[in-house]
């Protein structure tokens, strides 16, 4: 007969805390057992339990044992891999006594075990690589004090802007002179592509669904505020989750880039809103790839698809929503680019710039060269490996993708070779501000050849205090348990997040970045014209990097 259940011991497959990525340091001497930490833990990695302590003491002149026994209540970290501590630190946040804190365990063997049921580890966030990225190794070494007019970032007027849209060279513009005045010849059959003047840092595509309502609305409000109140033409991409009709029909639509991706979510609702639009969107982005997870698609879990998401995306509630890694009806660059750009341009009467977004890749130049020949292509957005995502396989995030710096650089130099560097803007993304250096990373990319940069994870961290970092902290975006209320559809969690505050932080962040950009551009004598491709202003202390990027080596 089998022994009664539960008595089988298997210490071999019982994990010790040493294998876990974060070890919760709990202090008995400070804890008052109020339970706030266990109540807030998003993954139930800690729980209350009891332990027994036994002491034997002896008092007096000869051995006289006295045994004392005490059962104490403690907060304990569980050793269940399905409930591993993600290190988010929500416990630390709520603890009134500073009695608890997760500590990163560099010796963890998390990836050895996080594959229960034969399923690879999935998460949100971005590449877990805490090393210094290329962008952070670039410095601005052309400091003009006496050689060029030195500008004062605090005193001089700056106008940091970029152009989104294809810019025709002057000789191709259908110009005419009438009464000694130069004007566009509107009778010409020549297509003049739409161009927007925007701020060179834009908020990249994060969908309604990936983001919670207050997060997305906070970003949208912040962007609108920057435009309306601060006069900074910051634009934001919708992500692939549609847009709420209230926004589609508002005048603020002009600050938004609408994304279309392989799942086509929300597009029938967008099309239904077309007759009611009072403004054109800033642009249309066609997503072909995502830097954070090339080859991996999106999956919005059914439990997140509640009324809000279902209505905006135009799907029933409580179903899984898959965005495949590839588009289903496009089989070649020519077809994909031509067909999609045509269709999307047509939707708004060719008044809106339409551009594709690809993940950073060895093949980016092939796409670029195709776009260069397409008169309707408005730009190319390249998303490098350090971009973020709401949900992906860890392997896709950590091991797939191309760093943005050299990818962008070779694309820009390709344009230079064709003499088209001022015609087709390149938008760079992926790890901008990864270590917090938003303006410096943006400026570096601009000087390598980007017309604009896109940010995602940075703004989530800056505007909503996202816990995530490159030590795999938190990264719960895919689970719907975001302790910050940023990437969840659970009202209990997202009602923690104040969209007004998010908007305010967006405004502060962009204003500060603007100040920093001036600080970088001023010593280079640039106050109104963006130093796109001004690579002589850049240096790095790595020879190979300098050679690859075609910039100066300085040490």
């Amino acid at each position: 007969m089998e022994p009664a259940s539960g008595l089988r011991l298997d210490h071999n497959h019982k994990l010790s805390l040493r294998e876990f990525p974060y070890i919760v340091r709990w202090r008995d001497d400070r804890c008052k057992r109020c339970g706030q930490c266990t109540a807030v833990c998003p993954v139930k990695a800690i729980e209350a339990t009891v332990k027994v302590q036994r002491y034997v003491s002896s008092e007096g002149a000869s051995p006289a044992p006295k045994a004392e026994r005490k059962v104490i209540q403690i907060v304990e970290q569980v050793t269940d891999m399905e409930r591993y501590c993600t290190g988010c630190g929500a416990c630390t946040l709520v603890c009134p006594n500073e009695a608890i804190e997760p500590e990163f365990n560099p010796q963890n063997k998390f990836l050895h075990y996080k594959n229960k049921g034969g399923e690879g580890y999935k998460r949100g966030g971005r590449r877990n690589d805490p090393s210094i990225s290329t962008l952070d190794r670039l410095k601005f070494t052309r400091i003009s004090m006496l050689t060029d007019p030195a500008l004062d970032a605090g005193r001089h007027e700056f106008r940091i802007r970029t152009l989104l849209g294809r810019i025709l060279p002057p000789e191709e513009l259908p110009l005419k002179i009438e009464n000694n005045k130069l004007s566009i010849n509107k009778d010409s059959a020549k297509f003049i592509p739409p161009v927007r003047e925007i701020y060179p840092i834009m908020i990249g595509s994060m969908s309604i669904g990936a983001l919670s309502p207050p997060m997305w609305e906070g970003l949208a409000m912040g962007v609108s505020y920057l435009n309306e109140v601060e006069g900074m033409p910051v634009v934001m991409c919708s992500g692939e989750g549609g847009m709420p009709p209230r926004l589609l029909k508002s005048k603020y639509l002009k600050y938004f880039i609408i994304q279309i991706a392989s799942g086509y979510f929300g597009w029938d609702e967008i099309i239904h809103a077309l007759p009611h639009m009072v403004e054109d969107p800033a642009a249309i982005e066609i997503k072909y790839g995502q830097g954070a997870k090339p080859g991996d698609g999106g999956l919005l879990m059914a439990q997140k698809v509640l009324n809000l998401i279902a209505s905006i995306r135009g799907v029933p509630q409580f179903i899984d929503l898959a965005s495949p890694p590839t588009h289903q009806t496009k089989y070649s660059i020519e077809e994909a680019v031509a067909k999609m750009i045509q269709s999307m341009s047509m939707a708004w009467g060719f008044r809106v710039p339409v551009y594709p977004k690809i993940s950073g890749s060895r093949t980016a130049r092939a796409v670029l060269n195709n776009l260069a020949r397409n008169p309707y292509a408005a730009a190319l957005s390249i998303d490098g490996e350090d971009g973020g995502t709401g949900a992906a396989y860890n392997v896709s995030m950590d091991k797939m993708g191309h760093p943005i710096a050299s990818n962008l650089r070779e694309c820009y130099l390709d344009l230079v070779k064709q003499g088209k560097q001022n015609e087709l803007p390149l938008i760079a993304a992926g790890g901008v501000g990864k270590k917090g250096n938003l303006a410096a990373n943006a400026a570096a990319l601009i000087m390598l050849g980007a017309s604009a940069v896109s940010i995602g994870k940075y703004i989530m961290q800056a505007a909503a205090d996202c816990f995530g970092d490159e030590y795999n902290r938190c990264n719960l975006c895919n689970t719907g348990k975001c302790p910050r209320g940023i990437t969840t559809q659970d009202p209990k969690l997202y009602r923690r997040l104040d969209s007004d505050k998010v908007a305010e932080r967006v405004v502060e962040t962009f204003k500060a970045a603007d100040v920093e950009l001036r600080k970088i551009f001023a010593p280079m004598g640039r106050s109104t014209e963006l130093p796109i491709g001004m690579s002589d202003g850049l240096s790095t202390d790595d020879k190979a990097m300098a050679k690859r990027l075609g910039i100066n080596y300085a040490c």
Binding site: M221, L308, K501
Partner: protein, 805 residues
Amino acid sequence: MRAKKTGSKGQRVKGSKSEGFKNTDTLTLGRSDTIIVHGTIKGKRVPSRILEEQIQHTVQEGARQLHIISDGQHGIGGRIWSREGTVKIAVEGPVGQRLGSMGMPGTEIIVKGSVSDDVGWLNCGAKITVLGDATNGAWNAAAQGTLYVQGSGGARCDTMTKHNPRFDPPQSWYFRDVGDSFAEFKAGGIAVICGVNPRNPKNIIGYRPCVGMVGGTIYFRGPIQGYSEKDVKLVGLTPQDWEWLKTNMKPFLEAVDRESHYNELTKSSDDWKKIIAYTPQEKRGRKWLGVSLPDFRKNMWDKEVGSGGIFAEYLNHELSLLPYITAGTDRRNRPIWANEKFAPPCAYACPTHIPSHKRASLIRQGKLNEALELVLQYSPLPATVCGEICPNLCMQACTRARLDKPLAIDKLGELSLDLPAPEKAAPTGHKIAVIGGGPAGMSVAWQLALKGHTVDLYESSGKLGGKIELCIPRERLPHEILEKEISRFKELGVNLHLNMKVDKNKFKEIYSGHDVVALACGAHQPRKISFPGSEDTVSAYDFLKDINLGKKPELKGRRVVVIGAGNVGMDAASEAYNSGAESVVAVDIQKPSAFGEEMKIAMAKGTQALWPRLTDRYDKKDRKLFFKDGSSIDADFVVMAIGDIPQLDFLPPSVHTEKGWIPVTENYQTSDVKVFAIGDVTGLGLVTNAIGQGRLAADYINYQIMHAPRWPEIKQPIAYERIKTEYYDACRGDFTIEKEADKCMSCAACRDCRMCEATCYWQAISRVEHKDGSYEYVVDDNICIGCGFCAGICPCGVWEMVENV
């Protein structure tokens, strides 16, 4: 020292005298003399350095009035200290940059025309009057002194001016206007722009003035077009300002020869405005954003996209914010006092589901009798089975075993030996037949009789007890215990039909005369495998039965082999030793399946197990048992203990059988809905299985005939991890009933210890006692934050956390 210094300086000056003094008019200086210094000699411009030397020398020599006819020289009139009196310098002709730079107190410069850039640069006290315009950068970094400008100032005037508290603040007066970028980074000093006849009638202080200004005062009169609003503020004049302005206006106008404008300029303080820097406190206290976000949302966002924002139409919850720690419906998890939701491991493991934890609980409450009586509701043979022959699956499963040793449930069973039969329920009028008086039959009859049914029990032998009576060695079960419990059974009033062998006809009769027939006739036909010589072996069934009936075989000095090393084989082995056998070997084709007491006793007596062995033949003559592998063993006496099968030839075709056994549903119902089968007739099992099946079958039979609610439902066992063994100290020592009850961890059943109530930091848990004496622990949802401490510390695993949806 001073004389010496002057002398040496004089010598040095003397050295250059021959060249340097050619352009001065006289070398004999009197206090009232005006010395004319020429910036051009014979059509040749004197270098700035030489002119400077001459001016310094002249003053050193005692000159106090200089008239300089300049030719664009740099820095004229600066750095002069007179030691006594005032040095007055009149300048005419084109002047170079930085006139009067680093000017010292006691220097007064009057320029008879316009000046070049940076007039009064780093002025430390000179009084400079410009009877014309000042160009760019006038008064830059001035720290003391006065600048009077008859005309306009150029771009970037008054930048970086300071006020050193040791001195009066610098003053700069512009009669007309100033150019762009005025007063950048101004840190102190007073600037006055009178705004008379300005070059730009719309703006008298230029484009973007006061960027970075942190101190000082600007008085101006006339229109302006903005200033650096983040640095400075525009205010009206106070009476003190006005007084100061009126007082100091006069000397300025006199100096620049514009006295006629005095009345116009001092007509009304309302014509004047003042710009002062924000204090650092004001700047820090300033709202970062011009429009607050709540205002933006209210007045711009919601107005455009609709009330409540872009998502409001889809959200069905309040739009207010929630804290991280919430109570009530906003909690993520909530606790449930799930008392007895799960079965304790003991009750779950017991085929009869005897609730030993309840027995312990009653004992702890001092209700000893109730506790011991409780078991009779579950089994008619607690002392016999629980107390003696059962392998006690309950104890094997007992949580306490994880700490020290299991609760002595066997001993608790024994204690029920002397109890009388419980009260029966009122008669129901239903008649039920039970065929077979073994443990299964007794159990089902017992349960049904307790429920008030009339039960007829048919037993082919003359005694109740079945195999317990017949086959279990008396050394494992003292006979008087069984007899006592059988007599209690008889007290219940079951109609016993002993020595009643049921055949086809009898069955038909029983079947038609009862509501339900329960088959519990066991397996009383020994199984035998046939091999050469198998006819010379004896079955364990017969071997053991004969012994229990008093017919002991004579085995003294004989070597016994038992084929089959299961528990029955072990009993046979023990009994063989008891009958004098010299040695007993149990052979099996696989690892012996025996366990528990049977095995222990047999092994203790010296039984050897031999496996795997497939029997080939038995040679009675050679007294050898041969195996298929060719080996053999000495065997004077061979017992075959490979199980028994039922005898079912009396059954009608409506009761389906399979390979000699009766297949049943989970409720022990056969293919004939009126016929149930329990115990060994459905497959060999333990006595406890037979009793459990009897109870469960009775329960279902009752449900079927009475349409009664079904009880007990089968509960899942509680996970061991949920029982907090930490609360209990490891014990050794003797059995006492009270101690044992206290040792019970009350798995899945509330001990009423109040640990949860005491633990809850938020005081959300309270104990509520009901009128019937029962109690429960309740949670105040408005206080509870869902921390799970109650669940984490509950000794019994009663509290559990569920998602709060």
